[in-house]
Amino acid sequence: MAEEKQPLTRDQMAAILAQNMGYGWIVNLGIGIPTNVSNFLTPDQEIVLHSENGVIGYGRLAGEGEEDPDIVNASATQPVTLNPGAAIVHHADSFAVIRRGMIDVTCLGAYQVAPDGSFANWKTTNEPWNNLGGIGGAMDLASCAKQIYLAMEHTTRDGEPRLLEKCTLPVTAPSGVTLVVTNLAVVAVRDGKFILEQHAPGYTAEEIQAVTGAPLEVSPDFRRVAV
């Protein structure tokens, strides 16, 4: 009998992102679901977390009583802990790390993503360029990180697909996304294609395809998420 349908929680999505990180990587976590990734990394992964604000080597979110008002992640508000060996640099030196290409992966939230690896996360309309938007460090990160992982809802509130043939919103970067974790699926982005790797409990490939705006190639290794 089929498993009960259970979309992934934000924490489960963060845990999947954490599973997809290699030993010793330097990782930048954007605002939203990605900031929770710091709670799911294991010490043996030896990940170094980098934040736009110049904190290099932070750890999990600070627990009650552990908060230091001067130690926050890229959200600028969530208190985090520092790992032994942490270092602080100023904002220009922080983006020097990014532009030099030292970030192995940046995890970002997104509104839309396409099979060419482009994605959109900074502007909610496609009105002509009007200098309104919230870019933050996403463009620098998306232009320079070795890989981009996205964490996003599979559809809009109205049920419209966010995985599209082509982004309809202004892009944050024209390429670079390699992995998309949604509440329904884990999708690799490779060779101009979406490859459906994993599904949330109870969802079939067909059901996921039905709410996706571009073809999904089902991986030979298609499986249930392990979280």
Binding site: I88, H91, I135, L141, V171
Partner: protein, 239 residues
């Protein structure tokens, strides 16, 4: 604090650091109490209005029409559900905005402080933010040219300072502070701890050399030391 900003000129440009921590909250509240207007500001975001008179900042100045132009990495909310402070003003043309990727913003400020008029960056290539900018290839990759930022004033929040003006920041409160302190003509600093004698800070541990600093003021008792990010309440200087 009021004395430190008493001579602030209308129509000045102002750098405002902070990314969560590291905001010159007390200097901004003092600026709010002046009649200064016509500002051009350089900051990460525009922020929101505050009901607390001691937390009046850029969001309040913008909404009061005292800011002509904002240069920032966030000029609108990223959440469709929540309209950003400046958004309506920009949309109706009463506020000019220049939206800049955050790393480009940081590097433009650093360049202003380093006497570099322009540089090339890969950030934003292939996006709307590169619209109208000069593109150029180096070693087979495309970059856009960006120009330096330099301001009349920088308001800075330091953790420690000595009488020579040397500054030390604490943890993530450092963020834009050092580069903005290097990229403004008048650098006014609010300091969390008592200002110590020159020689008491190890020269190897100085984050901003005193030659950049114009005015140092310790945050007075009752002044805002931190903001509780959950409640929005001010945590105040007690001694």
């Amino acid at each position: 604090m009021d004395e430190a900003v008493a001579d602030f000129q209308d129509n000045s440009s102002l750098m405002i650091p902070g990314f969560g921590p590291g905001q010159p909250t007390n200097l901004l509240a003092a600026l709010w109490r002046t009649k200064a207007t016509g500002l051009t500001t350089i900051s990460n975001g525009v922020g929101f209005e505050s009901a607390d008179p001691d937390q009046k900042g850029l969001g309040d100045l913008v909404m009061a029409g005292r800011v002509k132009k904002v240069i920032a990495a966030f000029t609108a909310s990223t959440r469709p559900s929540r309209t950003g402070t400046a958004e309506a003003l920009v949309a109706n043309g009463t506020l000019e905005a220049e939206l800049v990727p955050q790393g480009t913003l940081a590097e433009r400020i650093r360049s202003g402080g380093a006497g570099i008029p322009a540089f090339y960056t890969p950030a934003g290539v292939g996006t709307e933010t590169a619209t109208g900018k000069e593109h150029r290839d180096f070693n087979g990759r495309t970059y856009v040219m960006e120009t330096a930022l330099f301001a009349d004033y920088a308001f800075i929040r330091a953790h420690k300072a000595d009488t020579a003006g040397n500054l030390v920041f604490r943890r993530a409160a450092r963020n834009f502070n050092p580069i903005m302190a290097m990229a403004a003509k008048n650098v006014i600093v609010e300091v969390e701890q008592p200002i110590v004698e020159a020689g008491e800070i190890d020269p190897d541990q100085v984050h901003v050399p005193g030659i950049y600093v114009t005015t140092l003021v310790r945050i007075p008792v009752g002044g805002v030391l931190h903001i509780n990010r959950t409640t929005g309440m001010a945590i105040r200087q007690t001694a």
